[in-house]
């Protein structure tokens, strides 16, 4: 392959920069708001005329139930979540289930804070189901394991607790006077509900962490395969790239809406079509002409008319396995007394692709051809060969040998 290392290096560099940018973005994507800042933001929001439910909704995942929240329930639940985390392993589902049980218990114990009653009951029922499914290891995102069901919708309701309306809980009591005790209690209630929801969502997000990691790894492998297809299979000219695209069959299953399921599989073969190249041809007898100065080895132009190259993939590493192909080739060498076009076969192997071999017949002569890695070969080696050949010729012509 042409300039393989340079290409890979450049591509790796671009991806390295991209990865650094991504990680930088992600490193800055976690941000702690301390209690004082949370209180200040709350006051600023209320002062700006934002409805109390809107203020609380916007602050929910920044202030309530998050790991920096000093609330006793948060501390209790977070202590369990911290213990449930396992390095490079799925989180401990027993501990995650116990975190959900704790939340159910605490919500059930405090009828004053967790109002209205119907919502409290919906929380209890939902948490029982989620605790059961998490404890049984039901696949993340299926059954009762989805963190999305605990995200506040429209700044007002939770899918799991339709009786809970944050606006009713908070905005109504605060409509007359934000400083009134009733409003303060309402704000505390609103925060308590949001805190509970954030803690459940956090628990379920941790439950889904391992599958999400696996999805990332699978995507990395697939991308590595696509890059190997481009960089490690035989190089394709634009018309070959398009032809191979046209010949790629749609092999994916269809969903109920008739749409393909999952990503396009990475090909395991390629068609070689009208692929020009330059190489060397060797024949035993260079030329019949008595005055010929041709050597046994001559540069040639060739055209791979049609061929196929195949390989397979190691799905666990994304690496290309094997890789062998053959194509029909036409060659031309400008020998002094024989410029017939030769026809034959050229054989490709990924292991030796820098020096692809072939055999052709031109007229009544059998030729062996080698396709060197074009640029590198001609730059580095052909000059050397020609120089060596000239030196040998010079030595042969030397009067000392006469």
């Amino acid at each position: 392959m042409i300039t393989t290392h340079a290409e890979r290096g450049a591509f790796a560099l671009v991806h390295g920069i991209l990865a650094i940018l991504l990680l930088t973005a992600c490193a800055s994507s976690a941000y702690a708001l301390d209690a004082a800042t949370c209180a200040a933001r709350e006051q600023a929001g209320l002062a700006a005329g934002v409805p109390p439910s809107g203020v609380l909704a916007d602050l929910a995942t920044l202030c309530y139930g998050i790991s920096d929240d000093a609330n006793p329930l948060t501390k209790e639940a977070r202590a369990i979540l911290d213990k449930a985390k396992e390095k490079d392993k799925p989180a401990d589902i027993v501990k995650l289930a116990s975190a959900l049980r704790l939340l159910r218990t605490r919500i059930g114990e405090d009828a004053t804070l967790y109002e209205p009653t119907a919502a409290r009951e919906e929380f209890r029922v939902a948490l029982e189901r989620y605790e059961a499914d998490v404890g049984r290891g039901v696949p993340a995102g299926t059954g009762f394991t989805s963190p999305l069901q605990w995200q506040l919708q429209n700044g007002d309701t939770l899918p799991t607790a339709p009786s809970l309306h944050l606006r009713s809980v908070v905005d109504e009591p605060c409509r007359a006077d934000l400083a009134a005790d009733a409003c303060k209690l309402a704000l505390d209630r609103g925060k308590a509900w949001l805190r509970a929801a954030v803690l459940v969502e956090s628990t379920l997000t941790l439950y889904a962490a391992a599958p999400l990691d696996e999805l990332r790894k699978r995507s990395e492998l697939r991308l590595a395969m696509w890059h190997a297809y481009r960089d490690e299979a035989l190089p394709q000219f634009p018309w070959e790239w398009i032809l191979n695209s046209v010949l790629m069959k749609e092999s994916r299953d269809k969903d109920t809406a008739g749409q393909p399921v999952g990503p396009q599989p990475v090909p395991t073969s390629q068609i070689i079509f009208l692929h020009p190249g330059v190489g060397l041809e060797w024949r035993d007898e260079p030329d019949d002409a008595p005055t010929s100065t041709d050597s046994n080895t001559q540069p040639i132009m060739y055209l791979e008319i049609l061929g196929r190259n195949r390989w397979s993939w190691d799905e666990t590493t994304g690496k290309m396995i094997g890789g062998a192909g053959v194509s029909l080739v036409a060659t031309y060498a400008d020998r002094e007394a024989d410029d017939d076009v030769g026809y034959g076969l050229i054989f490709h192997s990924r292991r030796t692709k820098a020096y692809t071999l072939g055999v052709t017949r031109s007229g009544d002569t059998t030729n062996f051809i080698v396709n060197a890695d074009l640029a590198e070969f001609f730059k580095d080696r052909l000059a050397y060969w020609r120089e060596a050949e000239e030196k040998i010729a010079a030595v042969r012509a030397s009067p000392l040998l006469e």
Binding site: I2, E7, V14, L18, A19, L21, L22, L23, A25, C26, S28, S29, A30, A48, V50, G54, V55, T61, I66, D68, R78, L81, D82, P139, A140, G141, T142, P147, L148, Q153, G155, D156, S202, T205, L206, P211, L212, D213, E214, S219, L223, R230, F237, I242, M248, D255, Q259, P260, V261, P263, Q264, V278, I300, M301, L374, A375, F378, K379, L382, R386
Partner: protein, 349 residues
């Protein structure tokens, strides 16, 4: 520490570098800061941008072809390859190689679109690259805190993200047997100058999973789907994304999870520009509302800020100037009584 809401920015056609999104980021932040309803929490405390780059995949392929062609020319010239080879061939090959250099409009715009639509290997690589960047960013977050994210895609990026998301959310589960749509999904998918339909390849945009839906919909890829299009932008016009009134379902429409955002104001000649779209309140207000999952900026406020925005666009200002000038127009036989105030008023403009 809590996670910020990630905003993935997906670029459109063109020769984009890693820092391509700086201008769009600034525009979004600047607009956010103008609303007291939002800015009681500073933008950087709740949001973080993650620019997605896929232009490097096109560029890698272009480079491959450029190098292959150049190498063939080098080989022919380097070896004087075949005696009698017309020097013109070498020259022609070098010209072909140069033709794929990246600084031509054809290569950086047209070829990218054609490669995405007609070369399935290119589309496959680009989509996987986008998915990998999204998964990498999501898995780098704090795993024991809620994860929320949105996507703002522009132009060709809308087609890319449509396909990438459909494939991700319809993919078979890993060894864990998970259902991605139940784990995480973008709160908002904002499609700016949406070309997903004209660039449709192997997946029908009206039947795919890249559609809005409530958390109860097991296949919907996002909660809110926004379709922003400019009356004068020719790019998303052919086969425009204009779903039927019942797409994806009547229930979803009733919940306002699909947001159609037509705009017509012209601030600059390049109306296709992402920033030009983002500066328009009819675009950025729904974006903020959807990302926050609540009506933070209400309809009345939107009406006011949009009127203010429209008034400062050249066309509206021109209309205003014409209306003003009309007041001061003088007739052939105007008297000094009307001439003097009209002149004075005109000179004060």
């Amino acid at each position: 520490m809590p996670n910020k809401h990630l905003i993935f920015l997906v670029h459109g056609i063109g020769d984009h570098a890693a820092n391509w999104s700086e201008s769009a980021q600034k525009t979004i932040k600047d607009q956010y800061a103008t609303y007291a309803q939002l800015s009681f929490i500073p933008f950087d405390e709740r949001f973080a941008f993650v620019p997605i780059l896929y232009n490097d995949e096109f560029e890698a392929l272009r480079k491959k072809w450029r190098d292959s062609t150049a190498a063939l020319g080098t080989a022919l010239a380097g070896g004087a390859a075949v005696k009698g080879t017309d020097a013109q061939i070498v020259s022609d090959l070098n010209d072909i190689a140069k033709a794929t250099n990246k600084d031509t409009f054809i290569n950086t715009h047209v070829v990218d679109v054609l490669l995405y639509v007609f070369a399935r290997q290119t589309a496959g690589t680009v989509r996987e690259s986008v998915r990998k960047q999204i998964f990498t960013a999501l898995t780098a977050l704090n795993r024991a805190e809620p994860i929320t994210w949105s996507i703002i895609a522009h132009s060709l990026g809308t087609a890319v993200i449509h396909d990438a998301l459909h494939e991700a959310y319809s993919d078979k589960p890993t060894k864990f047997g998970e259902k991605l749509a139940g784990i995480t999904r973008p709160t908002l998918l904002a499609m700016i100058a949406n070309v997903s339909r004209v660039c449709e390849t192997d997946c029908d945009v009206y039947k795919s999973r890249t559609r809005p839906g409530s958390p109860h919909d097991p296949d919907a890829v996002c909660r809110f789907y926004m379709n922003a299009h400019h009356d004068w932008d020719p790019i998303p016009k052919p086969k425009a994304f204009r779903p039927a009134l019942h797409w994806p379902s009547i229930a979803v429409r009733m919940q306002n999870l699909y947001v159609d955002a037509p705009i017509s104001e012209i601030e600059q000649q390049n109306v296709h520009d992402l920033d030009h779209y983002l500066r328009n309140p009819l675009v950025h207000v729904p974006i903020f509302n959807c990302m926050l999952n609540r009506i933070a900026i209400d309809g009345d406020t939107l009406k006011t800020v949009h009127a203010r925005f429209a008034a400062q666009t050249p066309l509206d200002r021109f209309g205003e100037w014409v209306a003003t000038l009309k007041k001061f127009q003088l007739g052939e036989e105007a008297s000094w009584k009307s001439i003097l105030p009209a002149w004075a008023a005109t000179l004060k403009l």
